[in-house]
Subunit: 526 residues, 2 copies
Amino acid sequence: MDVKFKNLTEAESFKKLVSFPTPDIKNILSAERISKCNINAGIGLDYNYSAKPVDEKLLKLFQQLSDEQQSVNKYKEILTGSIMNPGEKRMVLHHYTRGSHNIDLKEGVSDKINLYKEQLERFSEFAEKVHSGIIKGSTGAKIDTAVQIGIGGSDLGPRALYLALKGFLQVNGKKPFINCEFISNVDPDDASDVMSRINPETTLFIVVSKSGTTQETLTNTALVKNLIRSKSKSIDIAKHMIAVTGKGSPMENPTEFSNSFYIDDFIGGRYSSTSAVGGVILSLAFGSEIFKKLLEGAHASDKIALEQDILKNPPLLDALLSIYDRNILKTTTEAILPYSQALSRFPAHLQQLIMESNGKSVNLKGDAIKYETCPAIFGEPGTNGQHSFYQMLHQGTDIVPLKFIGFKESQQLYDIDFEGSTCQQKLNANLSAQITAFAVGQKDNNPNKNFPGGRTSDLLIGKRLLPETLGSLLAHFENRTMFQGFLWNINSFDQEGVQLGKKLANKVLSGKQEDPVLDAFSALFK
Amino acid sequence: MDVKFKNLTEAESFKKLVSFPTPDIKNILSAERISKCNINAGIGLDYNYSAKPVDEKLLKLFQQLSDEQQSVNKYKEILTGSIMNPGEKRMVLHHYTRGSHNIDLKEGVSDKINLYKEQLERFSEFAEKVHSGIIKGSTGAKIDTAVQIGIGGSDLGPRALYLALKGFLQVNGKKPFINCEFISNVDPDDASDVMSRINPETTLFIVVSKSGTTQETLTNTALVKNLIRSKSKSIDIAKHMIAVTGKGSPMENPTEFSNSFYIDDFIGGRYSSTSAVGGVILSLAFGSEIFKKLLEGAHASDKIALEQDILKNPPLLDALLSIYDRNILKTTTEAILPYSQALSRFPAHLQQLIMESNGKSVNLKGDAIKYETCPAIFGEPGTNGQHSFYQMLHQGTDIVPLKFIGFKESQQLYDIDFEGSTCQQKLNANLSAQITAFAVGQKDNNPNKNFPGGRTSDLLIGKRLLPETLGSLLAHFENRTMFQGFLWNINSFDQEGVQLGKKLANKVLSGKQEDPVLDAFSALFK
C-alpha cells in the first residue's frame, strides 16, 4: 500500500488551520456567493456550502489537508481491495454493490464483486416472481407483505430507504407492489405489534443477519414463528422465510429458509443498504428497476468522490467542513434537517452510519488519539423541527452545525394553492428563511428577542426525491463518513465499542455472573 | 411574589460545587448503592440515580442549591397562579389539566381550572358518543379513524403518547377503539401519505392550534379538505372536522367545525399533552377511562414534585444532576434511551419539551447569561440504539450523559422462551449490561478494545408501561424541565427563538422581500 497514515493534529495543514482566522458568515454571505458555492453531488442533487464559514484561503488549506491525508488515494485503496479495515483485517467493498470502477483490483476482489452482481440478479428475479405470483405463500395466497427482521444496519438503512420511496409510487394512486414492515427490537412488543397488523399467509419474512448469530434477530424470528403457528396451523413456515446472510453462516439452512441471498464480511452493516440487505426488501416493495435506479444514483456519487479537487468532490468538501467545525470551532453536535417528510427516518440511519463509524478514540494503528472525533448526530424533518428543538438552535448557548436537505418539488406531486402559495412553496420558504435566520440573525435591544446569527449550515438540494437522487444522497453521506475517517486517521469500518455490552448481557442471561454491580442492576428488573 | 431570581453562577452553593471533587463512579458503585439510590417517582415508577457521580456531600450541596434557587417555592408560585412566564406575561397552568392542589389560588385561576375540567368532561362524553355510534360520519358510517392535524406541541406529545399506549390494549387481541394518524409537516407528502391510507367517510379530523393561525396546520387542513372532496362528493366535510383551539380564535367557527374543545394561553404547547390537545385524540383512541388513568399518573408525579427534600423529589434531583453534568462536568448532549418499543417517539417529544423550554441565553429578567443552558437531546429505543450510535457513547471522545428508561414487564405481555430466557429478560439483561459497561468499563491493553468507563447514567424503572405509569413518566420530565429552568434562572415557558424564521418565511411568501441573501436562497428552489 503506498498511502501513509498520520494523525489529524500532526498534519502541517491542520496546524496552519488552528491559527487561521475564521471569516464571519454575516460578512461574507451574498447572493453571488450563494449561487457560486453550489456544486453537483450526484443525480439531481447539488451541494451548497455558501453558509459555511470558509473563504478561498481556508479552502486552499482544506485542499492541502485533504492531499496531506491522502483522502482520495485512500478511497482508491478501498476500491482496489486493500485491507482498509485493519481492526477486523478486512477489505471494504460496499461500493461494488452499485457499480464497477476503472481501477486495478487486488487478487480475489473480482470474485467478491461477482458475488454482489450475482445476488443482485438473483433477488431481482425473485422479486419479479413474487410480483407475478409465480412464488406464492404456502397456502396458495398471493404475497402482499414483507417483514424484515434485522437490527442496526440490517434495519435502519433499509427502513429509511423504504419510507423515502414509499410515497414515490403513490403518485396518481399507484402503490408499492408489496407493503413492508420491520421488526428490530428484542422488546417483544415490537414483534407483537407488527404481527397484529399482518396476515402470515400473504407475508414473506426476510431474516437479515450477516453472521447468522445476532441475538435480537434470532429471538425475533423464533417469536414470529410462534405467533404464526398460533394464528394459522396450515402454514408451512419455512416457505414464508427467506434469509439474507453470509455463506456458511448458521442461518444458511434450507429447512428453515426457502431461499437465501448472500452478503459477505467486506460489506459493513451500516454500509449495506445497497447490498442484498436493502436490495431484497426494496426490490420486493418497488420492483428491481427502482432499486437499480437507486444503485445508479449511489454509483454516480461514488464516482464524484474520486475527484482530487475538493471543489468538485462534495462528500470530501463536506467532510473537511465538518472537521473544521469539530476540531477548530470545537462544536460537539450536528443536526441533520431534511425538509422532506419522506426522509423522516433518514437522520436515524445517518446517526448509525456516522456515529458507529467515527465514534472512536484510537487511530488506525490502534493508538489512542487526543483530538475530538465524531460529534453527536440528531435530526427530525423540517418544518416539524422548527416547532420543536429549533428554539435551542437559534438562541441556545451552544452552536450546532446544521445540515439541511431540501427538494424543489414534492415527491408525490400532489399540492394545493392556499393563501397565495403551494405547500411545497411554503416548505421551501421556511427552509430558505431558516438558513438565512441562522446565518445572519437579527439584532434586537431586548436580549430575549435577539438572534445572534453566525450559526452556519450547508444544504443538499435536489430536484425531486427520485430513487436515483436518494441513491446519490445515501452515498454522499457514506463517502463523507469515509473521508472523515481518513482525515481523523481512524478506522470507520469496525465497531469494537459494541462488544462489552453484548458480553455482559450474555453474562446476565447465563445466570453465572459473579459481578455484584451487574447483579444488582439486573435485580432491579425482577 | 415572595421568590427571588438569581443566576445559577451567582448562587453560593453553585460556587462551592465548582471546586468540589467529583467522585469516580467506578469507585463508588456497589450493590448496596444501587438498591439505596432508588426512589419513588410516581405510579409504578422509580428513579434510580446510583450510576450518577454523586456522594452524600455533593447531594447536600445540591439540596442547598435547590433551596437557594427556591425551586419548590417557585413551583408553588406556578401552582398558585403567579405570572411565571414573564416573557409572555402569562400564568403557567398545565398542572391543573390533571388534578387540583391544596394551595391558595390567585384571582381568576379557579375559572381557568374549571375550564380544563369542563373540557375534560366534554371530550370524554364526545369520545363515548363516537364509540357508541351516537356520533357518526356525515354519510352514516361509523367512525373508525381519527387524524390529528397539528404541529409541535399539538403533534409530538399526543403522537408519542398514542404510540406508547397503542399496544397496551392489544393484549389478548383487543384493539384501540379508533385508529389514529397524525399530519404535521407542511410538506404536502405528509398529508398525501396519510390520506392514501384512510377512508374520509369513517374519519374524524381533529385540527389543533391554540392561536388558530398556525401556518402548517391551516395549510394541511385546506389540503385535507381538497383531498376529501376529490375522493367523495357526498361527504359533509364540516361534520368530520373538530377543533381544539383557544376560545375566540379564528378557528372557532361552527360552519367549519362540528365541535370545538378549548385550551387557553396558560397551557404551553409542549406542556399540553394532558389538556384537550392530547385528551381528545387519546380519549377517542382508548376511551376516556384510560386517558384519566394517564392524568392520575401525571398528577401523582406533580405532587411528588412538591417535596422540598431532593431525595424524595425525583424530577428535582434529576434536574440538579443534569445541571451538574452540564455546568460542572461541561457535557453538551444528553441521550434518552427507552428500553421499550412503545416509547419509540417519546425521545422526540422530550427533545421538544426540553430544548424548546430551556434552549435560552437570557434570564428571567431578560438579561443575557454567560453559562451553558440546555444541551442537545437525542435518543432511540434500546436495543436498537446499541446496534447504532452506542459505539460513540462507549468509545467516542466526548462523554454523553445517558438517561435509561426500562420496565420489568413487557407492555403486551406476549413473550416466548428462547435459548433459556424470554425476550423481556433479554431486553433487560441488555439494559443492565449497558448501565454497567458504561459506568465501569473494561481495561484492555489493545486501545481499540479498551472501555474507559466513567460514563454515567440514571434510570427510570417501571413495573409495566400502563397508562398511569406513562402519565408519571411524562410529568416527571415536564417537572424536571421546569426545575432546570428555575436552577438556570431562565423562562422555560416562552419560545422567542422560533419567531425570526416565521417572519422571514412570510417575507419570502409575500414576494416582497428586498433581502438579497434570502432572495438568493429561495431562488435555489425555483
